[in-house]
Every structure is written in C-alpha cells, then in structure tokens.
C-alpha cells in the first residue's frame, strides 16, 4: 500500500501560514518602492470633459501622476482570449481615455513615496464628467432602443451564439408537456480574501522586469504582459508568491498588472499597488450574470425529450480574458447528468456599464447545472412525480459510458445512480419525506432538495482550450538526494505542495519532507498553464507522475550500471535499488539457463544502492553508462486526451421560519465522485468551501447595481459573504469511479461544491414552499421574499 497517496497527510505548506510567516505580494518589501493609488470613475457611463492632475502632482510625496493620455499606445490592449466568430472586442486600455464605462474604471494613477500620500493625492485630481445614460439591465441592453455603450458597434450585442445537437423544435413539439421558466443566475463577486496586488521592479541595467502578482496563471500572464508592454518575454519574470485565494478572479490579465510594469520602467523604482476591497468589488471580475428562459419537453412518464435555453449573458463594459467564453461552457454542460436527445442554447452576449463578468468558481457550469437541476424539479412538479424518480429515469447507465451528449461532449465515466443511492441512504430520504409530511400537518415548512450534477474538469485537451490545456512538471534529485519538483500549475490554497509531494514521495520511496514543490516563478519553473478549471491535480499531477517515472528509468539504468547488473534484474523499494536474488537462484536450482541469458551481475561487492548514492553518482558523473547525460532531472509535458466528468448528488433538508422567512438547514448530505483521491482531507476542504460559496449564491450574495449603474454592494458590509453560522455542518461521502483520461484516475474537485450545491438548496426551499404554489424562486432567496410568500 502506498505510504502517502490516498491518505490524510497534513499539508507541508501550513507551518509558514499558521505562523504568519508566508509572503503574499504586500508582504514583499523592496527598498525605494513607490506606491500607486488609482482615481476610478464614480459614474457608470460618462465623457471625461476635463481631467486636471496638476494639484495632485504637486502634493507632498507625489512622484508622478499618469492618465490614459500619458500612456497612449505604450501599453497594448488588455487581452481577451476568446475567438468566437463575429465577436465585437472593444479597445480596452489600462486607463480610461475620453470616456468611462463602469463605476471603478481606472482614470489616473498617482505614484507617491507612501500609500497614504498616494491616496490623499487622488482626491486632488479634478475631473469634469458629462454623464451619459447608463445601460445597466442586461435585457434592456439587448433591445434596439437601448443607448449604445460602444458607439462604433452600433448596438450592445457583443455576440450571438447557437449551439447544441438534435432537432429541438421537433423534440419540444412531440413532448407531452413543455414547461417554460425564466431563470436568473445573478452576478456574484468572487471575493478572494486577499485582494489583487502587484509589485513591479524594472532593472535598467539588466533590462529585466519582474512582476509579483497575485495571480493563478503566472506563465500566461508573462506572455500577455510581454505583448502588452513590448518587453521580450525572456526579459520578463512573473512571480505569483503566496496567493490568498482566486476562485477564477485571478485567472486573468488586468490592466493594473501591465501599468505597474510600465510605471516601474518609466520611473526606475519598484512600484506597488495593493487593491482595496472597494476596488476589488468594483473592478475585479464578477461571475455568473445570466438571464434566461428554459423550455423543457417531457413525456408523461418523466422522460425528458429536449431542452432549450435562451440566455442573455451580462458581459459588462469590456471583455476580460475569458468573458465571452463563459456562456459557451454553460452550453456544453446543458445535458447535465441526463440523456437529453435534443439540446439548444441561444446566447446573446451584451455589453452593460458594469465590471466584466468572467470565470468565477465553476465558470458557466454552475449556471448550466442550475438550469438543468431546476428543470428536473419543474418536470417532477408538473407531473406530480418524486424528483428522485425523474432523475433516475433520465440517467445514462454505467455501461453507456463514454456517454455522448447532445452538446458534443463524451463523458468519460460515471455511475450516477450509485452516488444518488448513497446520498439517499445517508440522508435517509424516505424518512425525511415522512418527517416533511408530518411537519406539514403541524403547519411547519420543511423542504427537501436534490441535485445530481456532473461537471467538466481537468481542463483540458489543447484543441478545446484558448491557450494550451497541457501541464508541465520537472522532477529533480539534487546531489544530496533531496527532491525538487517544479510544477507549471500555480496553487493558491489547493495544497499541491503536499499532494504532488505525496505522488513523488511514493514513487521514489522517500520521506515527504524530502520533497520540495516549487511553483509560481516563471524564471525557475518551465512554462506551465496554471491553476483553474479543476485541472491542477488531474493534469498537473499527472505531469509530475510522468516526469518521476521518466526519472526512475534513468535511476534504474545508473543503478544497474553501478551494480554491474542488467536493468531488468533490479527491484526498487523504499528508495533502494537491489539486485533481484530470487529469480537467479530459482533458475540455477533447476539447472536451466534463463530464457534471455543475462550476464552474471558484477556487483562490485554491493548488492544495492540508495537513491542518495545514485544521486551523487549522477552528479559526479565519473562512472555513468556510456552516452548517458549527467544529472538527474526529468521534465514532462502532459497533454490530456479528454476532459474528465466528476459527478455526485447533494441532498438538502431545510426548514423555513414562518415568522422571519429565514432558512435553516436541517441536513446537508453530499456524495461526490471525483475519481481517485490523493489526499481525502484536501478533497473534503475543496468540497466544503465550494458548498459554502453555493450557499452564498443561493441565499445571500448578489452584486447589485442601481439604475444609474452605481454599485450598491461596494463593500463587504453590503456584499454578503457567508459567515461561520450561515454554513451548516456538512455530511460528506464519496463514490469512486476512476477515469482512464489520466493514469492517476483523478477527475478534479475544485469546483464541485459550487456546481452541485446551489440547485439542491434552491430546490429544497421551493419544495418547502410548494404548498403556496411556488415552483421557482430567483436567487438570492432572501428571508423577505419567503416571508412575503408565507404571509400572503
């Protein structure tokens, strides 16, 4: 049995974090650093009639003030990686030029000797705004009567997209029933607890620019910044130091990252900008933001015949890295965990005077899962069937995998009923229903919700990705026998310093504390893709495994050479290569020559060698097999052949307080299947955190803009991130269906909680309110909404 893989190993990254000794961007102090503060637009849509920075420039401590005009064309556009046909891409620069398009749009950067002075001077900049009509509501923005945000485009439609297979019109026409429902996935803010931050240092002698940024994608960021700044990529170094959470918000290229590099080069000092929470809520990407209508056709027995989703995606004013791509992921996942013969998505992506939406944990998949899982409950309600029965009816059977969906995907493996059955058993579903009936008789409001989700993970085959879907790893054994792993992923809480060390320690038979995992520095680590899309362990971990396997072949050859044996005669166990004894004596005993008659090992008196012995020999290089390269290092770039499709069932029981409308969780049961598991403790952490964010979307969180486009939820006093008492005790279990997409059999787990949980919670609340004729409610479902229903 493996010593580390599959076990609850305490994280090796934790000591520095629990002692307060880790280094996030703002903890890195360089001498002579200047500090940047931004003037940001207070209007959603306005023309800048006058911008006067002269007073600010004279303020104490201020070194420089830069505007969009000062930067001009010296920094290229903030990139969007999407290549959708006919996509309209507005020219997006780090600082506004002439017009502002959303509250929080950066207008000027003040550079000063300390952050207080920089912030003070921002108030001395004079701006005359000529307000323009703000386009806030996404549905209004799509209408021809709407004011136009980017005049050059003529309207606010960034793109239209239709996808899906099967004859949807025929499928809906031939259904016994067609149910229609308007469904909203509200705008959310990712709220990584560490806001963004950038430290830039240009060294004029070396002509080298180093950017420390709180990012999930150091290498992709380096490439994009090289293009934006016109600095050769091999003179640009991006370092993601300790990163305090991302959830997709740091899977991006932001104007501030380029601008800080430009300022440092211009002034010759290191410059730092640390985002305030207010800036974070205004000007770091938001997630979700879909307003749609579903049509679902079904037979009277609950068989689903077709699903259409017409959706308006609220893109915001500009396109960030993946903004237009998010609804396409929604389209891909519209089959959910069901056999739906005809599926169609019609997306209208619209510009609004708001911050861009982009990838927030789940990134298009929570929206799809919410649509499908609400649709299943609508079918059940329409037909008077149990929601479990409807789901069972439409699941593909395990033997139908790889399962092809009408959205063009091949689900790798799955046993959806197994996860459902386990969740039913743990929650004692029948008894819960019994309790619900009894409670209803007593006038109490109990609801039970279920969600059987599937997600698309381990992104992904490069064919399907905008910038490569592979991942890289180098495994190196140093002369003293210590092991170094360089990974192209960029963990920021997921714990791969530990889980990758588990893989390597098991493979090499060394202590986990002898393995150091290094990531997030483009000058140290070979090119990599990064951490997002539940890919790091499934794709990056496989690269680590493949690299260490490559290295072991070399170790074996060196060991065989030093022991005077053939490589096939060696066994490897607990970090030691030994000459296999048993076989030779058996062969000798029966008096036969072995089939492939091997030379008798010349063992130089030694029967075995440790990893340390070989490591030293490989570096001293005095006695290596002929033509072998010295050193002990292997690099592997792993390209996955498919995505993976983890799945599971969440069952939730809630009780509603009739007096206050508050929702209380009675039970929360989650059975998730993410394939093989390297560290169950880390997997639990991922799922629990994801569910908490789902609770946030279902009950509390929403980015609210008023009619003028003013952000109402501009601080954490108004944007309601769940607190400890808002999250119940979660009962977690797993099923384990391996995948053959990667040799570790891992599917990925980073986003499961945020994908599976939201509809289960909403379904439970709707179920509780069914006696009032409720079939659907929009999120966040606030006590006031519920109270009004119960009171009317």
């Amino acid at each position: 049995m493996a010593k580390y893989i599959g076990r609850r190993i305490k994280r090796t990254e934790d000591p520095r974090l629990i002692k307060g000794l880790a280094h996030y961007v703002d903890d890195i102090k360089l001498p002579d650093t200047l500090h940047v503060a931004f003037l940001r637009s207070i209007y959603a849509h306005a023309r800048i009639a006058r911008l006067d920075t002269s007073e600010a420039a004279k303020a104490p401590g201020v070194v420089a003030v830069f505007t969009g005009e000062d930067v001009g064309e010296q920094i290229g556009p903030v990139p969007c990686a999407s290549a959708l046909e006919g996509l309209k891409v507005p020219d997006h620069r780090p600082l506004a030029r002439g017009k502002v398009y959303f509250v929080g749009h950066p207008i000027a950067a003040v550079v000063a000797t300390d952050p207080y002075a920089a912030r003070d001077a921002v108030d001395l900049i004079a701006v005359d705004y000529e307000e323009l009509p703000a386009v806030v509501d996404a549905e209004e923005a799509a209408k021809p009567t709407s004011p136009v945000i980017h005049e050059q485009f003529g309207d606010n439609i960034a793109y239209r997209l239709t996808a899906g297979e099967g004859d949807i019109d025929a499928a809906l026409a031939s259904a016994d029933r067609v149910i229609r429902q308007r469904i909203v996935n509200q705008r959310l803010a990712p709220v990584a607890l560490e806001p963004r931050g950038v430290l830039a240092r240009y060294l004029p002698g070396e002509e080298e620019l180093t950017i420390w940024s709180s990012t999930q994608i150091p290498h992709l960021l380096r490439t994009q910044l090289a293009i934006m700044l016109g600095i050769p990529e091999n003179k640009l170094r991006v370092i993601a130091p300790e990163v305090g959470g991302g959830f997709g918000s740091k899977l991006n290229v932001y104007g501030e990252e380029a601008l800080l590099g430009w300022i440092s080069r211009r002034l010759g000092n290191p410059v730092k900008w640390i985002e305030t929470r207010r800036e974070n809520l205004q000007a770091t990407i938001h997630g979700r933001g879909q307003v749609g209508e579903i049509e679902i056709g079904c037979k009277n027995d609950g068989t689903v015949t077709g699903l259409r989703y017409n959706v308006i995606a609220d893109l915001g004013a500009y396109l960030q890295l993946l903004t237009p791509a998010i609804p396409t992921l929604t389209g891909l996942m519209l089959s959910g965990s069901y056999k739906i013969p005809a599926i169609q998505i019609n997306v209208t992506g619209v510009f609004t005077n708001k911050m861009a939406t982009d990838a927030y944990r789940g990134a298009g998949r929570p929206e799809a899962t919410y649509v499908v899982e609400r649709a299943m409950d609508l079918v059940a309600a329409e037909l008077g069937l149990d929601p479990i029965a409807v789901r069972r009816k439409n699941f593909p059977r395990p033997e139908e995998f790889p399962f092809k969906t009408a959205t063009g995907l091949f689900y790798d493996s799955g046993d959806y009923e197994a996860a459902l059955d386990k969740a039913l058993k743990i929650s004692d579903y029948a008894k819960l229903r019994e309790e619900q009936r009894r409670a209803r008789d007593e006038g109490r409001l109990i609801g039970i919700g279920v969600s059987s989700y599937v997600e698309i993970c381990a992104l992904g085959p490069s064919q399907a990705m905008p910038a490569g879907g592979w991942e890289s790893a180098t495994v190196r054994i140093e002369p003293t026998g210590k092991v170094t792993v360089l990974t192209g992923v960029s963990p920021h809480g997921q714990g791969q310093e530990t889980s990758f060390a588990q893989i390597v320690a098991d493979e090499l038979g060394v202590d986990i504390n002898d393995v150091a995992v290094i990531h997030g520095d483009t000058s140290i680590v070979q090119y990599g893709i990064g951490t997002f899309g539940s890919r790091a362990t499934a794709v990056g971990g496989t690269a680590v495994l493949k690299a260490v396997e490559k290295l072991k072949e070399k170790l074996n050859r060196i060991a065989a050479h030093l022991l005077g044996a053939d490589a096939s005669q060696l066994t490897f166990s607990e970090g030691r290569f030994s000459v296999q004894e048993a076989k030779r004596t058996t062969a000798a005993a029966v008096g036969e020559a072995p089939a492939t008659s091997l030379p008798e090992p010349k063992t130089n008196g030694k029967r075995s060698l440790t990893l340390k012995d070989i490591a030293l020999a490989a570096h001293l290089a005095k006695d290596l097999p002929p033509d072998m390269e010295p050193g002990l290092s292997a690099t592997y770039f792993f390209e996955p052949k498919n995505f993976t499709f983890p799945f599971g069932t969440h069952i939730v029981a809630v009780e509603i307080d009739r007096e206050t409308g508050e929702v209380k969780f009675l039970r929360y049961v989650a059975v998730d299947d993410c394939g093989k598991v390297i560290n169950p403790m880390l997997v639990e952490g991922q799922i629990q955190g994801g569910i908490a964010q789902s609770i946030g979307q279902a009950l509390y969180e929403e980015v609210v803009y008023d009619e003028q486009g003013q952000i109402v939820t501009g601080t954490l006093m108004d944007y309601a991130v769940p607190r400890a008492r808002m999250v119940p005790r979660l009962e977690l279990d797993r099923t384990e269906t391996p995948t053959d997409v990667n040799p570790l059999g891992i599917k990925g787990v980073g986003e499961a909680g945020t994908i599976g949980a939201t509809p289960a919670i909403v379904n439970a609340i709707v179920d509780a309110l069914a006696p009032f004729g409720i079939r659907h409610l929009d999120m966040p479902i606030k006590p006031e909404t519920i109270w009004r229903i119960v009171r009317r």
Partner: protein, 158 residues
C-alpha cells in the same frame, strides 16, 4: 506632525515617531515588518487583521496606532511560545482548517481569544465566536474542528 508611540509587541518594547492617523495594522506591517497580520477589507468586516490588544481581539485596521500607546499587542507571529505552536495553530494544521491562508492569522487569533474566554465552547458558540472573521476557502467546518481540537488540548494541558 508626528507623535510618539510606545508599546509592547509580542513581548518586545517598541517606540516610533508616527503620523497620528497611522492605523495599527500599518504600523505592525510596514514599520515593524510583522506582515503576518493581513488586510482583507476597508470596513472592519473580514477580520483578517485581528490582533490581541491587551488580551482583547481587535481589528487592527480600525485602531489607530496611537490608540495602542502603552498597550500590549500580540500578533500571529507572537502566538507560538519557545518554538512550540499554540494549540489553535496545531489544530488548524491537524484539521486542514486553512487553504489559501490569508484569513488564517486573524482567524487563529480570534479563536485563541474565544478559548481564553470560554474553554469548552459548543459548536454553535464557536461559529458565533468567529462571526467577525470571514473565510472564503474552507466553509468553516474544518475551522470549527480545529478549535474543538485546541479546546481539548488546552483542557488536557491544564
């Protein structure tokens, strides 16, 4: 106009000439170099900056450094004693109560103070006691378990 503050931070006497408007968190981070105390919001909502001021948990982004004049401050860096982790720190490590680690110093300080006040808290009391501290990664369950672990350890050691 600068003014003098004198205080004990993690057992060491400190004194500096500072601007009266300087926040305690910036004094700790930028002048003393104790960067374990983090800043996560502008509104005293998230608790990442929690430190002990004369034994009371306070959000150091809402305290002027001059208000701490003459006080005893403990930050995350001062919680371990003689190289030995505080039981709450141990619990966080044992129970995987942190992911990105950004809220962790404030969360640990708040939990330590919670246990100083109530050595045997119920789960509900722990969740209530940590309401001033936001964590976006863990969903709090492992944090609750970590605090229960620490409570047990502290009772055993008495």
């Amino acid at each position: 106009m600068k003014t003098t503050v004198r205080l004990r931070v993690n057992g060491v006497e400190r004194s500096h000439q500072i601007e009266p408007r300087l926040l305690l968190v910036h004094y700790l981070r930028d002048i003393l170099g104790l960067t374990g105390t983090h800043i996560g919001c502008d509104t005293s909502t998230c608790g990442a900056c929690t430190v002990l001021l004369n034994g009371q948990a306070v959000k150091s982004c809402t305290v002027f450094a001059v208000q701490a004049d003459g006080a005893e401050v403990t930050t995350i860096e001062g919680l371990a004693r003689n190289g030995e982790l505080h039981p709450v720190q141990e619990g966080f490590w044992e129970h995987h109560a942190l992911q990105c680690g950004y809220c962790t110093p404030g969360m640990i300080i708040a939990a330590a103070q919670l246990l100083a006040r109530n050595p045997s808290p119920t789960e509900d009391e722990i969740r209530h006691g940590l309401e001033g501290n936001l964590c976006r990664c863990t969903g709090y369950q492992h944090i609750v378990e970590a605090v229960q672990y620490a409570a047990q350890k502290m009772r055993e050691r008495k």
